[in-house]
């Protein structure tokens, strides 16, 4: 579904991502972790088509994103870390707007909206202006809007920020459900426990370079952290420390 070939990105003279190569098959939840300034958001923005790689190729569904950006955007969804919302629209109006942009038939749109409003328990405030929503309410709305058109690839940057424990669980279950349905999820996150819990594959990026990738058990086998094996946090910190030295 998603392939990155030797992707490099410079900001002026500063190297942000260096020769990043990844292959993520259909129906995989890929967690992308790394310290601050490692290049996670830059990679996510390149995948979403907002930034062009300085070199290398990004292939989504067999097509290069540079030459087919519009076609690819129809089958992907992007949830940024600080999502933009039209604050003077109500939640329902915003979802209608997104549905129209993706040319969803009215009936499909209505049923999809009803599904996610119920799932995220948004019915109480869905007709109120978005400006009155809390951070968590906004985040649920953004996630709902990103799923309306049944994307094949979901690119998310810190998806659980601002959500309460109940909604964190809903999102985790939803992501697993989506993956079962064959959707690929590329998730950049700082919350290592979530990555450990729900990801099929984990990639660790440090100073723009991919320093490790594989399932959690594969990563654990790379680094012996403690007699009991340790958790993703231990593995992650060891990998980063090793890179620093």
């Amino acid at each position: 579904m998603l392939e990155l070939k030797e992707v490099t990105k410079y900001y002026g003279n500063k190297l942000a991502v260096e020769r990043l190569t990844l292959h993520i098959p259909d129906g995989t939840l890929f967690a992308f972790i790394g310290p601050n300034g490692a290049g996670k958001t830059t990679t996510v923005k390149m995948l979403a088509g907002l930034l062009k790689p300085s070199s290398g190729e990004i292939i989504i569904n067999g097509k290069n994103i540079i030459n087919n950006s519009l076609e690819i955007k129809k089958i992907i969804s992007y949830i940024p870390d600080q999502p933009f919302l039209y604050e003077k629209l109500s939640g329902k109006e915003f979802l209608n707007f997104i549905g129209q942009i993706y040319h969803l038939p009215e009936e499909t749109l209505e049923s999809q909206i009803a599904r996610y409003v119920e799932l995220f328990q948004m019915s109480e405030y869905i007709h109120q202006l978005i400006e009155s929503y809390s951070l968590g309410m906004k985040q649920k709305l953004v996630i709902a809007s990103s799923l309306l058109h049944h994307p094949r690839l979901l690119i998310v940057d810190e998806p659980l920020v601002g959500l309460d424990p109940a909604n964190v669980r809903i999102v985790k279950q939803l992501f697993r459900q989506l993956v079962k349905e064959g959707i690929t999820i590329f998730m950049s996150t700082h919350i290592l426990s979530i990555a450990e819990e729900i990801a099929d594959m984990i990639g660790v990026i440090h100073q723009g370079r991919l320093i490790a990738q594989g399932s959690f058990s594969q990563l654990k086998s790379l680094k012996k952290t403690s007699p009991s094996g340790g958790n993703l946090e231990d593995v992650f910190l060891l990998l980063c420390e090793e890179c620093q030295t």
């Binding site: 002026g12 500063k14 955007k73 999502p83 933009f84 109006e93 707007f97 997104i98 129209q100 040319h103």
Partner: protein
Amino acid sequence: MPDLIALYKSKLRGFLNQASQQLYENKLKVTVISISAIVLWAVIFIFFYRSLIFLRTFEEIGNIVVIYFLGLFFFALGIMLVISNAIINYSSLYRSSESAYLFSLPVPAGKIFIYRITESLLFSSWAFLFLGSPFLIALGIHYSSGWTYYLYLVLFSAVFIILPALVGGLISIIIARFLPHRQKTVLILSIAVIFLIGVCFVSEITRLEGRTITFIISGMKDFLERLSFAQNPILPSHWITRGILSATSDASESPFFFLLLLSWALFLGLLSYQTASLFYLDGYSLVASSTRSKNYPAVSYFDRVSSIILRFLSPASRLIVIKDIKTLFRDPSQWSQMLIFFGLLTIYFINIKNVPYINLREGMWQYLVSSLNLLATTLTLATFTTRFIYPQISLEGRKFWIIGMMPIRRKEIFYSKFIFALSGAIIITLPLIFISSYQVEVPSGMMFQQLYFGLIICLGLSSIAVSVGVLYPNFKEDNPSKIISGFGGTLCLVLSLLYLLTIVVIGSIPGHLYYVLGRINSNTFSILQIISTVLISFGAVIVTIISIRFGLKSIERIEI
């Protein structure tokens, strides 16, 4: 097309939601702003209508003046709209989170461009529609034009404002795509070019021809000839001028000029759409990938000098003022327009002696020219206090907690903003008024009076801008152009202009009666001057105190 419709529909829906919310929650605010706006509109309308009646007394030359004025009005407006559209478009196309969001949706870049520049067009052109319409409607009434004039007025105005928006958009696209790391250089060069054009214009109309003549018709014709560049037939300002003037009578030429204007709007629309389709996304990526690598010293020379100059302030207030000055000057797009306008006014005032059509040794001309110079300077100041001072609190945005959490009282924050505004206004305005008075060689009494009027205008305008900024902050917007386009910005401009015009009108009455109409003797003139100065001082103090009290109350209530 359906996605463009969906975008416009969502924007319209958002606007309607906001309007109904304002009408529901802030009836008093909406009423006050609406009434103030209507009063200001009516004052401008009456001013232009009376001016047209006055010009009619000069018969042939009066009509010529109207034609040249209209041409110059649209010419200057076109240039200003191109500049403001280019600046607003750049920020809206490349720096806003909405553009980033739209790029993540399956909407073609060309359509995002069209959608975004429509918004910029409305933000940059509302002032023209508000301040230009009284003149154009007065023109129709003056010439007893039929309904077709007003129809053409709407059509011409609608198409005319599209042209600079498209040109400004094209400029932004080209700069972002081909000079993404040279934005400041381009901006500074543009300022220099516009400034040079302005200097040429000023020196052309003030060129001495070895004679000093009084205000006579031949001199006026000669003067108008120098403005003929605005009548160049290749300029859109000429097309709209001819079309509108024709519509005041039989409208025989109006369809041709309207279609000419429309064809250019369509051509530029197509050109910019295609250019945006090709380069907008590339440019967006390049701008987002550019970084500023300049290091700034922790404590600069500027900090040290400012700290000494601002020693009279408390340390916290001083820090806020220094922070505001640095923030303003590190973003040239914020102050470049101010530099152009005040720079040109300075050159004009320095050259005022060379204007060959007026005799500055006559008391009437000394009085008229210095008063008009005061009006021009303070009018420009009013637009700039609205543009730069009003958004100060709003621009703190979500960062307001930083100064909100500081161990200082909020009233200190208010006064630091006020001091920042007042010092800036005084530094710009008083030297200009002094240059003008000095060059016009007004008697010292008149010079002090002009300087005093300038000072209290600075005081009032600064207090109005800071207080309205605190009363109606917009913490959700980070683009100053959009902040000032809201209710608060409109209210600030309307109040500033009303305050300014009231002071200038009251201050001008004695001089008008004595110098222009000759209806009073010098003793009565002196008495009236004292009365008007006392009245103005009293009014200015009241306005300043009321504004500051409102501002101080409001800043305590601000919640983020």
